[in-house]
Amino acid sequence: MSREIIIRTQNLGKIFRDPVEFHALKKINLEIYRGEFSAITGASGSGKSTLLYVLSTLDTDYTGKLFFEEEDLSQKSKNGLAELRNQKIGFVFQFHYLLHDFTVIENVMLPGLKLGLLSESQLRKKALEKLEILGLPDQAEKKAGKLSGGQQQRVAIARAMINDPVIIFGDEPTGNLDSVNTKNVFDVFKSLKEQFNQTILVVTHDQEFAGKTDRIIKLHDGEVVKD
């Protein structure tokens, strides 16, 4: 069975020039397939977060080629990339990055409001559905800042899902959580993959978390050492 490629890289490299020239990523050739729940691991400084930022189009200063659904991203404008992220990419960061002055449901709706495909009431309904999947429907009208860390991270996942993205990127999504909540988040990702065939790519230094995923990509000094 040939699997659909979501992300493909060709000799992807990343050089930091400040303060000294440093090759953070070296000739990375990777393919991420639809429905895959994979983890990028490695020691700190191995370049795993850097790789994630490049793959997720946030960082555009790279060498080599990056394809998203077989489209060459080096041709895309900054605004084009913003649109791509809005429609097709979901983000979950270590420090949730919720907008604290807004309610939970407003946070979840934010990317959807930007996309502007649904009416406000339709969007609200969809956001509630996502919150239900994550077990938080009763928190919807609370201010985001009032929630616990584990709850906030689940809100962030709901936000990542609101536009039904092609892929969800996680940057140490459990880095700041206790073991109970870590398991919670893992279970959520797992069920997203199983129920909705959601593609998920997570950067983590948590070996246990990584060990339970479908695929581990291990980085060392900017190179893939194990896949």
Binding site: S49, Y53, S56, L58, D59, K78, N79, A82, E83, L84, R85, N86, Q87, I89, F91, F93, Q94, F95, Y97, L98, L99, D101, F102, E106, L110, P111, L113, K114, L115, S119, E120, R159, D171
Partner: protein, 419 residues
């Protein structure tokens, strides 16, 4: 907050999270615009009043014979080669600086469709004498009916009427300031003494108030014939012709034309008041400098609060960018915030400025200076208010632009990595 537009919603949320600073920034704009309306309105209102009164009391165009400073003597003109010509202590001929063939010129001017009033007159320095009081001033010898077409003399009469001057053969209309100085009342007999040594007794037929203090203190109207008598002149002697135009803004152009045509000096009203307009220019400059500096200060208030919000909300900006908000969306958020401050502050400023105008404008002042007026006159035309508002919005947009641009250029990666 049921708005679909996330940008407006984010902007409002930011402002509400910093209520006190937002209010202070708004107050800055409010005072800026209120002072714009008050100060600027006072200045332009005063100037408009002055111009109106000036236009009503100075002729749109005045034609007169300007004495040349250097007149060549006849002898040097005849013997132009000029060798060995020594005549010491030559004395110019005494002559009156009149307009020759005045009646022909008047007839000619009356045919011009641009000109709605023509009033020939002659004036002379005189000493007014009534009992002990002696005041020097000027008499204008006019055909009062023609003069009325130009200056609305009748409308400005405090006592008596112009028809009285026209029918009496020795009537005089005094400026109210002059009447006060002389202590003259209606029907008093006043003695006029001219520089020629002629004295004529006249009777007060009316008292007039033009509104320009200096004019009212000095000027009196007399008939042309009586003025000619004072100057020992013949019945055709006229020194000036005053004109009123359909459109007083065309005075300058028409004055030049008439100057060429008749060869006499034609002074338009702007030229006649050139020193006053010079003062206006400086006045305006000072006023607008004050207003601009106030708006700059309120601009800094806006700049300040936006920078504060931006630094505090850097993570928000990063995540908005990550989930697909474009640079210009971020820019819009912060520009919207500054415009909300400017708009709200501006509306209050308009109201405050209007109230100030109303309150101050209703205090009786009785000013007697440059011009005399009972109340301060404000410029309260809608255009003035609209321009004040637009001025305020432009200032706030400028103050908001730089922080907004800074926010839009924030690199999401830098912020996410820094944590």
């Amino acid at each position: 907050m049921k708005k679909k537009n996330p940008i407006l919603r984010i902007a409002l949320t930011h402002l509400f999270s910093k209520k006190r600073q937002t209010v202070v920034a708004m107050l800055g704009v409010t005072f800026g615009i209120a002072i714009f309306i008050f100060q600027g309105g006072l200045m332009t209102g005063f100037q408009k009043t002055f111009i109106d009164q000036t236009v009503n009391t100075t002729a749109n165009i005045r034609i007169y014979n300007e004495p040349k400073k250097e007149r060549p003597f006849l002898i040097t003109e005849v013997y132009a080669s000029g060798e060995w010509l020594v005549v010491r202590n030559q004395k110019p001929r005494e002559e009156l600086p009149g307009i020759k063939n005045a009646s022909a010129i008047v007839a000619e001017l009356e045919k011009n469709p641009e000109i709605t009033g023509v009033s020939p007159f002659l004036s002379s320095q005189v000493i007014f004498k009534l009992g002990l009081a002696e005041v020097s001033g000027r008499v204008s010898g006019v055909d009062i009916e023609r003069e009325n077409l130009i200056f609305d003399v009748e409308e400005n009469m405090v006592e008596g009427s112009i028809s009285k001057l026209a029918t009496m053969n020795n009537g005089i209309i005094l400026g109210d300031g002059l009447a006060e100085l002389l202590g003259a009342k209606m029907n008093d007999n006043i003695l006029l003494i001219s520089p020629m040594g002629v004295s004529v007794e006249v009777k007060v037929a009316g008292i007039n108030h033009s509104g320009l203090t200096e004019v009212d203190k000095q000027r009196a109207y007399l008939s042309i014939r009586n003025t000619q008598k004072l100057l020992l002149a013949d019945g055709s002697y006229i020194t000036d012709i005053n004109l009123k135009l359909k459109d007083f803004n065309k005075a300058e152009i028409l004055a030049r034309e008439l100057e060429k045509k008749f060869g006499y000096r034609c002074l338009d009203w702007k030229e006649a008041n050139v020193n006053v307009f010079g003062i206006f220019k400086i006045q305006n400059l000072i006023t607008y400098l004050i207003i601009i500096s106030i708006l700059v200060v309120s601009g800094f208030g806006i700049f300040n609060i936006l920078m504060m919000i931006i630094y505090e909300k850097l993570p928000d900006i990063a995540i908005l960018k990550a989930v697909g908000y474009k640079d210009r969306d971020i820019m819009k958020i912060f520009l919207t915030e500054s415009l909300i401050i400017g708009f709200t502050g501006g509306i209050f400023g308009l109201v405050l400025g209007f109230l100030l105008q109303q309150i101050i404008g209703n205090i009786e002042m009785d000013i007697k200076g440059f011009v005399s007026m009972k109340y301060l006159q404000f410029n309260n035309s809608p255009i003035f208010f609209v321009s004040a508002f637009i001025f305020g919005l432009v200032a706030t947009a400028l103050a908001g632009y730089f922080p907004a641009r800074k926010a839009s250029r924030v690199d999401a990666i830098d912020i996410i990595r820094a944590k």
